[in-house]
C-alpha cells in the first residue's frame, strides 16, 4: 500500500478567521485505492479544510496537490476538474429539479446551445449499473428519501469523473442499515481504484471502514494512525485530548405522567413523559421529529388524538405562548433560527418568552431595569461568556448562545422540557454543561424529552428510549433493553411491522 500513488496531498494548510486559528499547518495524504478517515469533533477544523480544498476559502499558507499537480487556490472548479468529488453533509442539490438535471448541472459548457439530455441519461444509466446505485433519473430530487439523495450526490461526483471522493459526515442522516449499505458501496468504489476521504466524528464507522485515520483537534493534526493498529479508546483520546469523561448517568426516579400523547396525527403516536425521567427519541432526522416537536412546543395543534398536560387536555388555542404558560420549556432544534433573535441584546433574548409577565412589564410598558437584572443573573448563573446584558446575541459562540436559551428555559421552572438537538454543533465543554443541566432538571422532577439524531447521545442520557420512523413511534424501551442493532432496525421501520 505504501508504494501506491498519492492522489491528494495537503501540505501545511493554515487558515485564520479573525482570532480563531481554524487550520494550523495541516498535512494530509490520500493514496490510490485507500479509505482515509478525517476524525475530529465539531469545530476541530474539518469543514474549513474541505472548504479550502474546494476553493471556497483561500488558505493563508500551505498548498494542495491532486494527482501530483498543484491546485490553484480559491478556484472552486479546480478540484472538480482534477477529479475530486465532494458529498456534502447538507446535500447541495436543487429540490425542484430532477435527478438527471441535478447531475447535469455545471457539467456542460454554459454557452452550449443545447442540453445533451439523451447522452447524459445513457451515461447515468451506465454508472448506476457499474456501481450498483439506482435512482429514478426523472424523479424530482425534493421527493426522494435521504438515502436516495445521498446516492444522487455520489452519482453526481462519479458523473463528474471523480477519482477521489470526499464525504462529509455521510452517515449523520442515515439509519445504521442505510449506513452499512453506504459502506458496501464505498468499498466497491475503492475496489475499482477510487480513493475515499471521509469526515466523521463517529469512532465506530472509522474503525469499520477506514484504512487510515487522521485526527484533528483544535485545527491541528493530533495524530495519524493505521486503523488496524489502533482501537476506539486511543482514537477518542486523540480526538478530545485526554481521557474521556465517560461516567455513566445515574438513572432517574420516574414520577407521575406530566405529558401524554394518544394517537396524535392519527399515526399511532403514543407517548408519556414522566416526572424525573429523560425520555429519548432516537431516529434519523426527517422521520416525524419535527412534527412531534412542533406539537409539544405549541407551534402546531393536535389534529387528531389527544394531548394532555398534567391530566388535562391542552386548550383548543394551544400555541407557543400557551406552552410556556403551561410550564413547557423548549430548547429549539436550530438555535440561530428559532432560539434567539441575533440582533437583540442578551437581556432582550433572556425574556423572549416571558416579556409580558408582571415581573418584566407594567401595563403596556417594559420594565427594562428588571429585564437587565434578570439577564445579568442568568449570565452569571449559567456561565455565559462573551458578553453582558447589552451585548448582541449574534456575536456569541454556539455554546454560549445555547446557555442563554437553556437559562431562559430553566429559569422559568419548567415541568416539562423539550430538548431538540440540544448539543448539536457544540464543543465538548458546552456539551457536558448542557447535558449536566438537563440531568439536574430531571433530578428536580422535570420530565425531559430529548430528541437527537445521535443514537449514542440518546442512549447515554435517557431513562426511556422511543424510536421514531416514518411518523410512527415505537413503544418505550427501558435503558439497556435493546441493543444498538435492534434499535437500528426500528429506525429503519422494521420493528413496527414485527410488533404489529
Amino acid at each position: 500500500m505504501q508504494a501506491q500513488e498519492v492522489v491528494l496531498r495537503l501540505t501545511g494548510i493554515t487558515k485564520r478567521f479573525g482570532p480563531v486559528l481554524a487550520n494550523d499547518g495541516i498535512d494530509l495524504a490520500l493514496h490510490r485505492g485507500e479509505v482515509v478517515a478525517l476524525l475530529g469533533e465539531n469545530g476541530a477544523g474539518k469543514t474549513t479544510l474541505m472548504n479550502i480544498l474546494f476553493g471556497q476559502y483561500r488558505a493563508d499558507a500551505g498548498d494542495t496537490q491532486a494527482f501530483g499537480a498543484a491546485l490553484p487556490p480559491g478556484q472552486p472548479r479546480a478540484a472538480l476538474m482534477a477529479g475530486i468529488g465532494m458529498v456534502h453533509q447538507h446535500f447541495t442539490q436543487c429540490g425542484a429539479l430532477t435527478v438527471l438535471e441535478n447531475i447535469m448541472l455545471g457539467r456542460e459548457s454554459l454557452w452550449q446551445t443545447r442540453l445533451g439530455r439523451a447522452k447524459a441519461r445513457a451515461r447515468l444509466a451506465q454508472l448506476m449499473a457499474d456501481f450498483g446505485l439506482t435512482v429514478d433519473p426523472d424523479a424530482r430530487v425534493g421527493d426522494l428519501s435521504v438515502g436516495e439523495r445521498q446516492r444522487v450526490e455520489i452519482l453526481k461526483a462519479l458523473y463528474g469523473e471523480a477519482r477521489v471522493l470526499i464525504l462529509d459526515e455521510p452517515t449523520a442522516v442515515l439509519t445504521p442499515q442505510e449506513a452499512e449499505a453506504l459502506f458496501v458501496t464505498l468499498r466497491r468504489l475503492v475496489a475499482q481504484g477510487l480513493s475515499v476521504l471521509f469526515i466523521s466524528h463517529k469512532l465506530g464507522e472509522v474503525m469499520a471502514l477506514a484504512d487510515r485515520c487522521v485526527v484533528l483537534r483544535h485545527g491541528r493534526v493530533a495524530g495519524a494512525v493505521r486503523v488496524a493498529e489502533t482501537n476506539p479508546a486511543a482514537l477518542a483520546a486523540m480526538m478530545v485530548g485526554g481521557d474521556l469523561p465517560g461516567q455513566a448517568v445515574p438513572p432517574g426516579r420516574p414520577g407521575v405522567v406530566l405529558l401524554s400523547l394518544r394517537n396524535v396525527g392519527g399515526t399511532g403516536v403514543d407517548l408519556d413523559l414522566r416526572a424525573g425521567t429523560i425520555t429519548g427519541l432516537a431516529g434519523v432526522s426527517g422521520n416525524g421529529q419535527a412534527a412531534l416537536a412542533d406539537l409539544i412546543s405549541g407551534l402546531a395543534r393536535p389534529l387528531a388524538g389527544q394531548m394532555t398536560l398534567g391530566g388535562q387536555a391542552v386548550p383548543a388555542d394551544w400555541s407557543p405562548r400557551r406552552a410556556v404558560q403551561a410550564g413547557v420549556g423548549r430548547i429549539p432544534e436550530d438555535r440561530h433560527r428559532q432560539g434567539v433573535v441575533g440582533d437583540f441584546t442578551l437581556a432582550e433574548n433572556a425574556v423572549l418568552e416571558r416579556y409580558g409577565e408582571a415581573g418584566f412589564a407594567r401595563g403596556p410598558f417594559l420594565r427594562r431595569g428588571a429585564i437587565r437584572d434578570f439577564a445579568a443573573g442568568l449570565i452569571g448563573k449559567y456561565d455565559v461568556r462573551g458578553g453582558g446584558p447589552e451585548t448582541a446575541a449574534r456575536g456569541l459562540s454556539g455554546g454560549n448562545m445555547q446557555k442563554v436559551i437553556l437559562g431562559r428555559v430553566l429559569e422559568a421552572g419548567p415541568k416539562i422540557i423539550l430538548a431538540n438537538q440540544p448539543v448539536r454543533g457544540l464543543d465538548v465543554g458546552a456539551i457536558a454543561y448542557v447535558q449536566s443541566q438537563l440531568i439536574a432538571a430531571r433530578d428536580q422532577g422535570a420530565a425531559v424529552l430529548l430528541i437527537s439524531e445521535d443514537l449514542n447521545e440518546v442512549l447515554d442520557l435517557s431513562d426511556v428510549v422511543h424510536v421514531i420512523s416514518k411518523g410512527r413511534l415505537s413503544p418505550g424501551f427501558a435503558r439497556g433493553e435493546k441493543t444498538v442493532a435492534e434499535l437500528g432496525l426500528w429506525m429503519a421501520g422494521e420493528g413496527f411491522d414485527h410488533a404489529a
Binding site: S319, R321, V324, D343, P364
Partner: protein, 347 residues
C-alpha cells in the same frame, strides 16, 4: 472576494459609513449640477438658500416636511417589522378622503378635528390590513399589493372629485368642496404660515419612539422584524403583531393626508401629494428607521425639494435633480448599512 460578517461593528464603522453615504449624495448632486451645465457649488448654495435662507423658505420647508414625517414614520414602523408597506400614498389619499367626508359639515363643531383625525387614521390602517391579511393568509407579497392599491386609490379620488365630492364652485377644476372652518387645523402662531400638523407630526415621532423602545408592542415589532421564526417560537403572536403594525403604519400615512387637507390645502385634489408616500420610504431609510431620525431626515428631504424648486427657477437645472439625488441617497444609505455588518475580504 467575499463578504465576511462583523459580529460587533465599531462605532467608527456604524457612524462613518452613513456619513460617507451623505458625502456621496452631496458629490452626486454636484456632478449632476455640472452635467446640467451649472456651477456645482453655486447650485448647492442656491438649494440651501432656497430651503432655509429666508423666513418664507424655512416655513415652506417645515410645511413640506410635515407630511413626510408622517409617511416616513409609517414606513419606519412597518419596515421595523419587515412589513413592506409601499402603499403610504394610497393610505394618505384615503385619509384625505375621510377628512373631506367628515369635515364638510357632517359633524358638529368641536368634535370635527379629533374625529376626522381618528377616523382618517383608522381608515388608513384598515386599508393596509387587506395586504397584510393577504400576506399572512395566502402568502402574497405585500409590496406588489400595496403598490397596486396606490393606483386604485388614485382612480377612486379622481372619481370622487368628478362626482360625489366635486366642488360646485370649483369652476371645472377637479377639487373637492372645501372643509368647514372648524375642521381646519389652526396655525401655530397667527400670521405665520405653519399649522399645528407640524407639531402633531413631531408628537407622533416622539410617541413612536416611546412605543418602539419602551413598550411590549415595540419589542414585539422589533422581534418579528429581526427574526420572525424565533419570535413565533417564543410565543410572540406574529400575525397579531403584524396587524397592529399595519394599523399603526397605515394610520400614520393617513394622518399625512389629513394634515395636508386640514392644515394646508383645505380641500382634496389629485395633486394633493407629489409622491409623499414614496418619498416617506427614502425618509425612513435615511433615518435608519429611527423615529426621531425621521424628523431630521424629513426636514432634510423637504429642504432638498423646496431648495431645488427655488434653485431650478434661478439656475435652470431641472428640479428633478432633487428626485435623483434622494434616490441615490437611499441606495448609498442601504449600501452603507450593508457594509456596516459585512466587510469585503479576499479569499
Amino acid at each position: 472576494m467575499r463578504l465576511e460578517p462583523i459580529a460587533h461593528p465599531s462605532l467608527a464603522r456604524r457612524a462613518g459609513l452613513p456619513a460617507l453615504a451623505l458625502l456621496a449624495t452631496l458629490l452626486s448632486a454636484m456632478a449632476l449640477a455640472a452635467l446640467a451645465g451649472a456651477n456645482p457649488l453655486a447650485v448647492l448654495g442656491q438649494i440651501a438658500v432656497g430651503a432655509v435662507g429666508s423666513k418664507f423658505a424655512l416655513l415652506e420647508t417645515l410645511n413640506r416636511a410635515t407630511p413626510l414625517i408622517f409617511t416616513g414614520l409609517a414606513a419606519a414602523v412597518a419596515f421595523r417589522a419587515r412589513l413592506w408597506n409601499i402603499g403610504a400614498e394610497a393610505q394618505l389619499y384615503l385619509g384625505a378622503i375621510v377628512t373631506v367626508l367628515l369635515g364638510t359639515g357632517a359633524l358638529p363643531g368641536l368634535l370635527v378635528l379629533p374625529v376626522t383625525a381618528l377616523v382618517a387614521a383608522l381608515a388608513g390602517g384598515l386599508l393596509l390590513l387587506g395586504p397584510v391579511l393577504m400576506k399572512t393568509k395566502a402568502g402574497v407579497d405585500e409590496v406588489v399589493t400595496t403598490l397596486l392599491i396606490n393606483f386604485i386609490l388614485l382612480l377612486l379620488v379622481s372619481y370622487l372629485l368628478e362626482g360625489p365630492m366635486k366642488d360646485p364652485m370649483g369652476m371645472g377644476w377637479p377639487k373637492s368642496t372645501p372643509l368647514v372652518t372648524e375642521a381646519r387645523l389652526p396655525r401655530i402662531v397667527e400670521g405665520l404660515r405653519l399649522h399645528w400638523g407640524f407639531a402633531l407630526a413631531l408628537l407622533a415621532a416622539a410617541a413612536i419612539w416611546i412605543i418602539q423602545t419602551r413598550t411590549k408592542l415595540g419589542y414585539e415589532i422589533r422581534a418579528v422584524g429581526l427574526n420572525i421564526h424565533a419570535a413565533r417560537f417564543a410565543g410572540i403572536p406574529v400575525n397579531c403583531v403584524l396587524v397592529k403594525t399595519a394599523l399603526l403604519s397605515g394610520g400614520l400615512a393617513a394622518l399625512a393626508g389629513w394634515s395636508e387637507v386640514a392644515g394646508l390645502k383645505g380641500h382634496l385634489s389629485l395633486d394633493l401629494s407629489p409622491g409623499f408616500g414614496y418619498t416617506g420610504i427614502i425618509v425612513a431609510m435615511l433615518a435608519l428607521l429611527h423615529p426621531l431620525g425621521v424628523v431630521v431626515s424629513a426636514l432634510f428631504v423637504a429642504g432638498v425639494f423646496v431648495g431645488s424648486d427655488a434653485m431650478s427657477r434661478a439656475a435652470g437645472v431641472p428640479t428633478y435633480i432633487a428626485d435623483i439625488v434622494l434616490a441615490l441617497a437611499l441606495l448609498y444609505m442601504v449600501l452603507a448599512l450593508g457594509l456596516t455588518r459585512y466587510r469585503l475580504v479576499r479569499g
